[in-house]
Every structure is written in structure tokens, then in C-alpha cells.
Amino acid sequence: MVLQRFGLGLLTLFVVSIIIFVGVEFLPGDIAEALLGQGASPENVAALRHELGLDRPAHIRYIDWWAGVMQGDLGTSLANRRDIAELITFRLSNTLFLALTAAAISVPLALILGVLAALYRNGIYDRSVNVVTLGAVSAPEFLTAYVLILYFSVKLGWFPSLSNIDANTPFIEKLHQATLPAVTLMAVILAYMMRMVRASIINLLASAYIEMAHLKGMPKLRVIVKHALPNAWAPIANIIAISLAYLVVGVVVVEVVFIYPGLGQLMVDSVSNRDIPVVQACAMIFAGTYILLNLTADIVSICTNPRLLHPK
């Protein structure tokens, strides 16, 4: 079962690579025009195209690219001739750092808030948590980001408004720099996760074994944590996986606002440069993250199902 999903994941990855490639092909202009600017003569543009191998048909370039990837070679950037693997490693580690920081706070927080909301459902706590988190998710990310910058860096001066990170930045400093982007991301995913946890648990509270637990005189919190939560892992794991995937993939806007040197920003820059190999590599990493996290969620659902875990 797991193997089958893994295979499907690889297939998805392949399809995604085609879509990205074709998508970028359709964009007007190419890197040669972008590099040389508007005043360039057609001869110069053609020469550069030839030098970069862009005059070959699209499908040949695509196959070439795949051949490289299979050998672990992501190729070189067309814009600055740097090795893409090298280029991406630093950016990816920054993005992952940001995503993990956001996840490390938001996942436990969402679980706790969700469980409490289920426990005191329809009460004043439940309602206010709902309103606040929904409000946070409804505001566009850039708005949240700018509001945070306005208060915490411009007015209070606690955090920098721009994330100035390089390879040698110490951990604590990195954390400090990443705080505002991480909080912005949290605002987006917290509501989804928390509401899903709440809904999954409330859904289960109507079942006979929950009534039985009450009739056995179990305390309310124990009923939810011991009796409802273990049966709610499958839907919760799914929403967490999707949220985490969003953390890695959806950072583009947040990274741009904070000029955070992550993968998202690299991708945005590369798209505007028409630097296809870099775009392709970033897209593959994003897609791979999505697929991997969803695969993990599937495995969690399988592993927490007692029927599959303890066959007859």
C-alpha cells in the first residue's frame, strides 16, 4: 500500500515537471532578452541563445534536463552560470528553517487550542478562538506581514523588518530574524489546523464509545485526550501535512515581503529572469515536499488505524 502511494508520488512529480516546463515555455520572452535588455540587437540575442543552448527544440532541452537530474546534476543557472545545487542548498535551508520554526510553534498550539475548543465547544472560549484565528487567516499574508512590521519593527523596534541572513549568521540571530516571517505564516495555517482538530474531535464525540467513557465516569479532558484524540489522528495528520506543505511552498509572498533569502524568493527572481533550470529545480523541490508530506500523512493514518495495525 505504501509502495503504491510512493509510486504515485513519483508519477505526480514527473507530471508536475512537464507542467512547469511547458508553463515557463509559454511565458513571453526568454533569458537572452532578459539579460541583454531592450536595446540588444537581434544578432546578439541569437548568439546568446545559441551559447545557452536555447535554440534547441523544447523537448530536447527537457530530456537533457531530466538526464542531468537522474545523474544528480540540477544544471547551472542560466543567469549567473552558478551551479544550481549550490545555489539552492543555502536558500532551501533558510526556507526549511523558517518553515520548521513556524511549524514547531503552530502545530502544538493548534492541537492544544483545538482540543480546548472541542472541550468547551460553543462556549465563549471556543467562539473567541474561532473569531481570532479566522480573522488571522482571512487577512492576506502581505497585510499581516506589513502590520507586524509596522508595530514590531517600526514602532517597537523589537524585530528587524528585513531578514538579513547569510551562511554565517548564528542560530539565535537567525531565529530573531525569522520571527516576524514565522509569525505571519503561523497566522495563516493556525486557523485551519485548529479548526480541523476541533471538528475531528467533535465529530467523534457523538460516537457510542465516547458516551460510554462518560458513563464510566471518566473526566472530560481524559475523554477527549485518551478516547477521542487517538481516533482522530488520520484527519488531523492530513491537515497538518497540508499546512506544513503550505509552509514550505506558500512562503513566496512572505519571503518577498521580508526579503528573506529563501527558496520562494529565488523562484520569483528566476521566473522574472526566465531562468528555466532554476525555476524547474525550485518547483521540483516544492512538489516533492508536498508529495512527501502527504505520503507521511497517509502512513500516519494507516499506522494509527487499529484495524490495520492489529489484524485479526
Partner: protein, 546 residues
Amino acid sequence: MTDRLLEIRNLEIDGESDEVWHEIIKGLDLDLDRGEVLGLIGESGAGKSTLGLAAMNFVRPGCRIRGGTICFDGQELTEQSETTLRKLRGVRIAYVAQSAAASFNPAHQLIDQFSEIPVVHKVKNRQDAEADAKDLYRRVLLPDPNGIGYRYPHQVSGGQLQRAMTAMALSCRPDLIIFDEPTTALDVTTQIEVLATIRDIVREFNTAAIYISHDLAVVAQMADRIMVLRYGELVEESTTRQMMSDPKMDYTKSLWAVRSFKKEAETAATEINPVVKVDNVTAGYGKEDILKNVTFEIHRGQTVAIVGESGSGKSTAARVITGLLPPRLGEVQFNGETLPKSFKSRNKDQLRHVQMIYQMADTALNPRQRIRNIIGRPLSFYLNLRGKQKEERIRELLSLIELEPDLYIDRYPDELSGGQKQRVSIARALAAEPEFIICDEVTSALDQLVAEGILRLLDRLQREFNLAYMFITHDLATVKAIADNVVVMLQGEIVEQGPKTDVFSPPHHEYTELLLSSVPEMDPDWLNELIAHREKHGVMRSTSTS
């Protein structure tokens, strides 16, 4: 002076539906002494479960206690805090639910769910609790009492789960156990063993019990005293023996008389050729064969009842006939002609002649369609009726099933009672003008009085249209009432078949005997005598507890 354990006075409970509160329990009194077993009986909606739960001062979501007092062992429960009540539940008052399969948490081992009661309530430590669990598992006659606790609920059969739940209820040696239909979901042969276990264990620990059931014969075996409830009010109350021999109220008498319906006369086969012939069919899912070399015939105007426990292959046989499950071997003939194995390759006429009525009318009728569309669809699909013709036919069918057309034609299924929904299902099957109808447990979700009405209707329609019925049921009382021929199934094979009178009169096949003798009778001594008899003769045990 008796030793009073529970005293409920003038209890009123309301339930909410669509934001309107209505009364569920209307001023009931209930008394229970230590060690006494009280039976609560009534049809669905009578308020039995609500009253039973109220003994723990517990109401389901959407209900509220409006008035009255609940005094348990000198303590007024309606005035206690949630924490005090919580400490009472599981320790001094325990509950055994109807469906053990749904009431055990699928994520935890049985013994965890047992031990958490004494451990959380600080009655015993974990080790002692587990030792006690094993001891109790032994006493409720579970196989492998030392190991079974470490299994998960889905690894244990329904009858065993119900025993494990009884053991769990005893974990803190409560003064009172509430049994809410504990055997309703079980097969008759399993039910009898669970009943005997529950009764013995209640006596052994001298626990008081409230035993809730809609099945009078079952309650008669268990209770010292019986209360008959209807619409949240008390109809009659007296000791079991008195109630059995001399019921006072008309309603009680009607409950007693429910099983009185009997088909007028058995119909002998009038034609040599059967309408439906299932010929040497083997079928199943995956690698497993659920049906093994099954052969039987159904003649025009006749009812063939297929009897057996759950898992015996009754419904699989229906799926093979309708073509939902193509058989591996063998074939199904209709009027001498072989039907294509899958319904996908059958033509409209072949489909039309085999209709089906399901157990749950609730799920078999589309809740978003009006009765007009539900019955009208087969009319236009099979018979190409349109417009006025179709409308007239729908009204005709509604009259046939004894529902006033003007009142019901524009209603949605939600606006009908359970019995009325089942009648609409019958009309939908009839609309196709079939020769053969499969009735899959059509009465088992209904109260006895309503079920009888459905059986009478089916019987009348059979005579009017010369229909052939295949009746799938586990309820032998229904079989006795309506069948002409009986097919007894066990683990996918037919153990005995023939005319009802032959099958139901000695000499029986060993399994038929077990089935027949397991049907509870309206005699308070029936269970005692049967258990004694079985122990003496060493009759085969139920097959489903393996």
C-alpha cells in the same frame, strides 16, 4: 422494610428537535431495591433508554431533565455537582450499552478500557485491576480469559464483546447496572448464552439491575418485575409472573399478542417450473467463498424464507440473484431462462422482474426526493409511463400500500414514520410490476406492532398479484408467520430446506434444532429449563463465538 437503592419520583425529561422542546418522559416514578432486577419494556420512542440513563442522572445531548427527583442510595442526584456524579458513574452505577462493538473504543485494548475505571477512580491500582479483569473474563465465560483482554475490539466477536462489556461494568462492583438492550444486536444462538451469563453474574454479585429491552420474551427471563412504558408514560407495572399470566392493560395485551399473525394457509406450488432457481451457486468476495454450492427454488405465489445467523450467506444469496455479485460457479434461472451473471448485462425486463426491499428504509429512500418521484421513477424507467398515466398509477400504488394518496404523494421520506417508509419501499418495488421480490430483513428495524402491519400488507399483495417472495431474516417468529418454504443456512451452506411444517417439526437437523430452541419464549422459566436441558444433552454451542 425493604432496602431501597433507587427512587425516582415524578421525573420529567425534555428532548429538543428543530429547536422545539417536547416531553420524552412525562412524570415517571421508579423504585428499585438492592439486588432486584427491573425490566423496562416498550417500543422505540417509549423513553426506555432515556429513563435508564436518568438513573445515573445522565442525559444525552439535546435532552434536559425538567423536573422530578432521582434518589440513589439516599443521595439526591439532581442536586449533585458534575464531579460528584462522575465519581458515582462506573463505580456505583455502571452501564452496558446496546452495541458493544460501537461502545468499545477501537483504539484501545479491552483490558485497558476495563482497568481505566478502577484506576481513574482510585479503587485499585493497575496491576490489581488487570488481575481482576482476567478473573471476571473467566466468570463471564470468555475464551482465553488471560489473553483476550490484550486484543482490540475488532479482533473479538460481537457476543464476546458483549460479555467483555458486562465484565467491564462489574469492574468496581457497582450497586446498580443498567443493561440497555444488551443482546438486541446478537444472533439468537449467541443471545441465549449472553443472557444466561448476564443473569448468573447479576445474581452472583447481588447487583441490582435495570434491564431495558423491546423484546418481552427476553425481559421475562431476566427481570423480577416489569414496567411497560409508552410515549414516556407508565402503562403497567407488576411482577414478571403476574404480568405474563395476567396483563391488565390493553396495550400490554397487544404487545403480548404481537406474534399472533399467521399466514392463512400455506400455498403449495401450483406450477412445476419455479420462477427463480438458484442452481449450484458458489460465490464470494476476494478468495473466500461465502456461498458454497447453494441450490434452491422459488415458485410463483410462494414465500421462501432464508434463515441463518449473521455471516451465513443470506444476503450474499440475494446479491447473486440480483446480479450485484456475479457467482463464481453455477447460475441463476428466471422462468427457466438463465440470467446473465452481472446486472450490467441484464436487459430491462430481466431487471424489472427482480425487485428488492431493504432492511433500512431510511437509507434505501433518497431523502431529497418526494414520494411522487420515488415511486414514479421505476414507472417511467421500466414501463415508460408519462404524465397523467404515471400520476394515476402512483396514486393507485399508494392506495395499495394503504397510504392516502392526497396526503402522502408530496411528502419527503423524513415526514413519514418508519413503517410508512417501509411501505413506500414496497410500493417502489411493486411499481416495476415484478414477479419476484427479495425482502432483506424488512421488518427487523421496526417495532413489533408496525412489523406485523408490514407482514400483513406483503401477504395481501402476494395473494393479489401472485408474487414470489424471498424473505431473508434471522427472526424465526417472522418465518413461522409468513413462510411456505424454509431454507436454513450455516456458514454458506444449506443445512436443511423444505416446506415450513417439515423443517419446523421434528426430526430436525441439529443446527435447526439449535436455532429453534434459542428463540426466547414468553415463559419466565424458559431460559432455566433450556440451559439445564442443553447441559444435560451437550447440544452444540453457538457457531459465531469462534
